[in-house]
Symmetry: C2
Subunit: 210 residues, 2 copies
């Protein structure tokens, strides 16, 4: 397998974690998004978004579709539990982040705010923090009230929701979002970062890190 990734892309990091949790060998290719570095259309697909995973001659885009593929093709260790409602819980937590937080804070969205709406740096950062703070507060409440979390988002085994949560918390900290009070989220983050699959795929640890 070949992964096209950008060290700081949180969607790319989700996939790096899943590959590491499953001990799957994969060739890493760093693509510098901020410099506007372009791979060929074929490498990244129509959306030109990262990550893209190549499996032989097949290209898979969208990080959550990649995670589902990896889970089905390489079921052990599992990123999803067996129980149907626990599966739905894990997927919905992942989507609470992947659909409600991350898309609003994408590089291309921040660029639009600046270029098209003349939003200044302070208001842009406030936008960023608003969505990450509101979104992670939802995750916090779910971890606290739904009775399914343990050391990780679901019980004591890291899984798909943790793959998505950890890069988002990293982003929140990078932009100085106020999340110190989200103690359940931060406890899961710390438990994850104690594992090699998370620590060794951290943006600072990959080949294209700066």
């Amino acid at each position: 397998m070949n992964l096209y990734s950008y060290f700081r892309s949180s969607a790319s990091w989700r996939v790096r974690i899943a590959l590491a949790l499953k001990n799957l060998p994969c060739q890493y290719h760093g693509v510098h998004l901020v410099r506007g570095e372009q791979l060929t259309h074929a490498q990244l697909g129509a959306a030109h978004l990262l990550p893209a995973l190549w499996v032989g001659s097949e290209r898979i885009t969208q990080s959550l579709a990649i995670l589902e593929y990896l889970e089905e093709a390489h079921p052990t260790p599992a990123l999803l539990p067996q129980d149907p409602f626990e599966r739905a819980y894990v997927r919905s937590l992942a989507l609470d982040i992947a659909c409600e937080i991350h898309p609003l804070n994408n590089l291309r969205v921040l660029k639009y705010l600046k270029a098209e709406l003349a939003v200044d740096e302070e208001a842009k950062n406030a936008w960023y923090r608003h969505w990450v703070e509101a979104g992670l507060a939802v995750v916090e409440e779910r971890l606290r009230t739904e009775g399914r979390s343990g050391r990780f988002c679901l019980g004591d085994t890291p899984g798909m929701a943790d793959c998505v949560l950890v890069p988002q918390v990293f982003n929140a900290q990078r932009f100085a979002a106020r999340i110190d009070h989200l103690s359940a989220v931060l406890a899961v983050f710390e438990a994850c970062m104690a594992l090699p699959a998370f620590a060794q795929t951290h943006p600072s640890q990959v080949p294209d890190a700066e």
Copy 2:
């Protein structure tokens, strides 16, 4: 099952289509988002977003997690194909819409633009159209170039990607986005709307329609 939905919510419509394609009986509950109508916290979950599907005493949130649940619990007729790369294609198309278009055009985001960034009506509508036009252009290119589409997003059977595409096209038309040139997208939309599962769950056809 009980579905909490808002007639105009495209995420709710995704689930209505899936339930209809699978012929699953479900009690419909309309919740008026724009009027700020609130159900109890328990009914909608921490995020207070629609849709929420109740299966007995279990609440499932996030439309794509609901679709995956329905697919696993009620596999026939299938919303996902068997081939692993075709599954990834369908899921990634669904996510191209659910992650790259829809979150940017959510009601709460439009409210933030207006209230916090003082964006006027014209610029707000331009924002809306920008993301839907750019995002659906990606879908168009994928339908045209990846060799997997037919009458529907994948071959000649409606599935998960169609459940997500159709409500987004409806939104695009409602906001007068320029998508007339996206002939592959529009052909799939028309093919879907010719089916009762899509037509009978259209926002104008549900109990809370206005």
